[in-house]
């Protein structure tokens, strides 16, 4: 197992290297970072040349890549177009995204797997039909629709209706109140006020994410459970005279878990890149916003750093998925 992990980590290095080349090619072709400057009238040629030199645009692409890579391996992802350190911004955004995605994912998994298991155990019951219909409905709705509906139709009206239009109970914008805990407002700095502030902001985007992701897990768990519930070894377990609860949990669910857990961990890796639409609707400054803004503003270093973090996350969670699978299935040997 240990040697497998070490080997996989070593294999990840050339993989990341390849990913960085692809990312660099994509980023170089996103557009011209100083297009604004060029199209402005009356900008002296020397100013443009200076800016080009600052950003390294006057050098050939290969040289730019090599110099970016040389710094990146030392953890220096350079500066944004506005001369801010890239890593600091990405790290902050990663924290924002993680807070959102982690909670939403845990809730989605719990609800989805529970509904899936019950649907499978009570196949063709009213619960199953209801859950199936609901899951398909939510599964097929676009995030944009769910998020906008929750924000504009439900939350904003609800806040007004309870008379808190100006100081909304359910926050619809941002990941936290600006300047929430400062020297002038020390009473806000405790654990309870900060958690309350977080939850009031996180409620809507989390609900949005949960609504659109739990349905997929419910469908997936139901399918996995139906397969194991009809397996011969589940029949054997019943024939032993075990309680139905034990048959379902220890035999059917335990084996269904192998596939469910793998899918979940792969999904999680992909979510590190940010819940782009959800973050946009609720104006959270997470990884999704980093991507959107860096493309809009043609900010090569920021975009490259986003690519890098996302690639690392996907590779890492692929490895985690493999490890989980090996832990859950004794037939898989990692060596």
């Amino acid at each position: 197992m240990i040697s497998f992990i070490i080997r996989r980590v070593l294999v990840s290095i050339p993989l990341l290297f390849l990913a960085s080349i692809v990312a660099f090619i994509l980023v170089v072709n996103t557009g011209d970072p100083i297009e604004d400057l060029r199209t402005k009238p009356n900008v002296p040629k020397a100013t443009i040349a200076l800016r080009e030199h600052e950003l390294g645009l006057d050098k050939p692409v290969v040289e730019r890549y090599v110099s970016w890579l040389g710094k990146a391996v030392h953890g220096d992802f350079g500066k944004t177009i506005k001369n801010q350190p890239v890593w600091a911004q990405v790290r902050r955004s990663l924290g924002v995204t993680l807070r959102l995605v982690l909670f939403a994912e845990i809730v989605s998994v719990l609800i989805g797997v529970m509904i899936g298991v019950v649907s499978a155990v009570k196949q063709y019951s009213w619960f199953d039909y209801g859950a199936t219909t609901g899951a398909f409905l939510l599964y097929s709705l676009p995030v944009l629709a769910v998020g906008s509906f929750l924000k504009f139709i439900l939350a904003i009206r609800l806040n007004r209706w309870i008379g808190r239009g100006d100081d909304p109970l359910i926050k619809t914008i941002g990941e936290g109140t600006a300047n929430f805990c400062t020297a002038s407002k020390p009473y806000n700095c405790g654990f309870i006020p900060s958690v309350t502030d977080f939850l009031s902001h996180a409620f809507l985007p989390m609900l949005t994410l949960v609504l659109i992701t739990f349905a997929g897990y419910a469908r997936f768990s139901r399918a996995a459970m139906l397969e194991t519930l009809n397996a011969d070894y589940v029949r054997t377990a019943r024939a032993k005279g075990l309680s139905e609860r034990r048959v379902i949990m220890k035999h059917a669910f335990r084996t269904a878990l192998m596939t469910v857990a793998t899918v979940i961990s792969l999904d999680f890796g992909a979510l590190i890149g940010g819940a782009i639409l959800t973050e946009t609707i609720f104006e959270w400054h997470g990884m999704g916003r980093v991507l959107v803004e860096s493309i809009n503003k043609i900010d090569p270093n920021l975009l490259l750093c986003w690519f890098f973090v996302t690639a690392v996350a996907v590779i890492a969670f692929n490895l985690i998925a493999d490890i989980i699978y090996a832990v859950l299935d004794p037939r898989i040997r990692l060596d």
Binding site: R235, A239, G241, K250, R254, R331
Partner: protein
């Protein structure tokens, strides 16, 4: 209660499954009884209802199944028991060995764990005691190095060993009735004989009755006391193994014997029964075998044959028992028709 009293008595058992296409009559009025140390063979082709009968006895049919008739274990009626009440019999009084040992063991648990689970389902033992019992059980079914094998996963066992482990699981609580549903079908021919021999030895060891379900007459030939031949959900012939092998009085049994590779070294071609079993949804009015039977006449096609006593303990559901009695060699029935 003496040892001669039936331990399991099934009377007039019927199982129906409602489906979108109609009601599937999987088992129609099956009756049998077994005493301790009996070996009863239930023989028939796929879909004849033999496995459904076994599942009904185990109470393992899907909830949609409609079971009528009676299944008595000693003095207790099992038909109509709540699932929870049925659990006390399942695995403890009546245990079952399934066909495919490759899939019948849970791949994610060690063999010993699964054995201990069976033991602890009915007996209040500590983990340690259950483990010791698991090792003992593996010994009993002839698995070498049981002390270390107890910690193996099913995929580390061969097919024959897995079936041995399945049998160990079935006998974990010293059941009174052991149902073996095609226990050797998925195994090598060489292993088949070992497994059967072990089952027979276990029966004496446990003082249990065995119900051996198979499509393979060769399997039941040497080891059963009594046999039942099933066709389209009904028992069409009952008797001792000798009755059925040497003087069958039901054309379907004769057909089954004809499709068995019997004479060693002979170059004779096997004689399959032409046609296919009827759909269990729309059964013909008369004898279900009549469309495939060389003796079928108008009566066969309109009247379901009664159970005719051929001799003591030998019963056949055929309108033409007399005609078969009169034949010089009823086993040639299908050949005569063919030529």
């Amino acid at each position: 209660m003496t040892s001669l009293d039936p331990i399991l008595k099934v009377s007039n058992l019927s199982v129906e499954f409602p489906t979108d296409d109609g009601i599937v009559k999987a088992v129609r009025g099956v009756s049998f009884e077994v005493r301790p140390r009996d070996v009863l063979g239930i023989v028939g082709e796929s879909g004849c209802g033999k496995s459904v009968t076994a599942m009904a006895v185990m109470g393992l049919l899907p909830r949609t199944a409609r079971v009528t008739g009676s299944i008595r274990f000693r003095d207790d009626e099992l038909v109509g028991l709540k699932p929870k009440e049925m659990r006390a019999y399942r695995g403890q009084k009546i245990a079952m060995v399934f066909q495919d040992p490759m899939t019948a063991l849970n791949p994610v648990y060690k063999v010993g764990w699964q054995l201990a689970e069976a033991v602890r389902a009915h007996e209040d033992l500590t983990r340690k005691q259950a483990r010791a019992r698991s090792i003992e059980l593996l010994h009993t079914v002839g698995i070498p190095q049981a002390e270390s094998r107890v910690d193996s996963y099913p995929h580390e066992f061969s097919g024959g060993m897995r079936q041995r482990a399945m049998i160990a699981m079935a006998i974990a609580n010293n059941p009174d009735v052991l149902i073996a549903d095609e226990p050797t079908t998925a195994l090598d021919v060489t292993v088949q004989a070992q497994i059967l021999e072990m089952l027979i030895n276990l029966k004496d060891h446990l003082n249990a009755a065995i119900i051996l379900i198979t499509h393979d007459l060769g399997v039941v030939a040497g080891i059963t006391d009594r046999m039942q031949v099933m066709y389209a959900g009904k028992v069409v012939e009952t008797g001792t193994a000798d009755d059925i092998f040497y003087s069958p009085r039901m054309p379907y049994s004769i057909g089954l014997l004809g499709s068995l590779p019997s004479h060693a070294g002979s170059q004779e071609r096997l004689k399959p029964i032409s046609g296919a079993p009827p759909s269990l949804i729309n059964l013909p009015a008369g004898c279900p075998f009549s469309p495939r039977c060389p003796l079928a006449d108008d009566v066969c096609e309109s009247v379901e044959p009664p159970q005719v006593v051929v001799s003591d303990g030998h019963v056949s559901a055929c309108h033409h028992v007399e005609a078969l009695n009169a034949m010089a060699d009823p086993l040639k029935l299908f050949e005569e028709v063919a030529t």
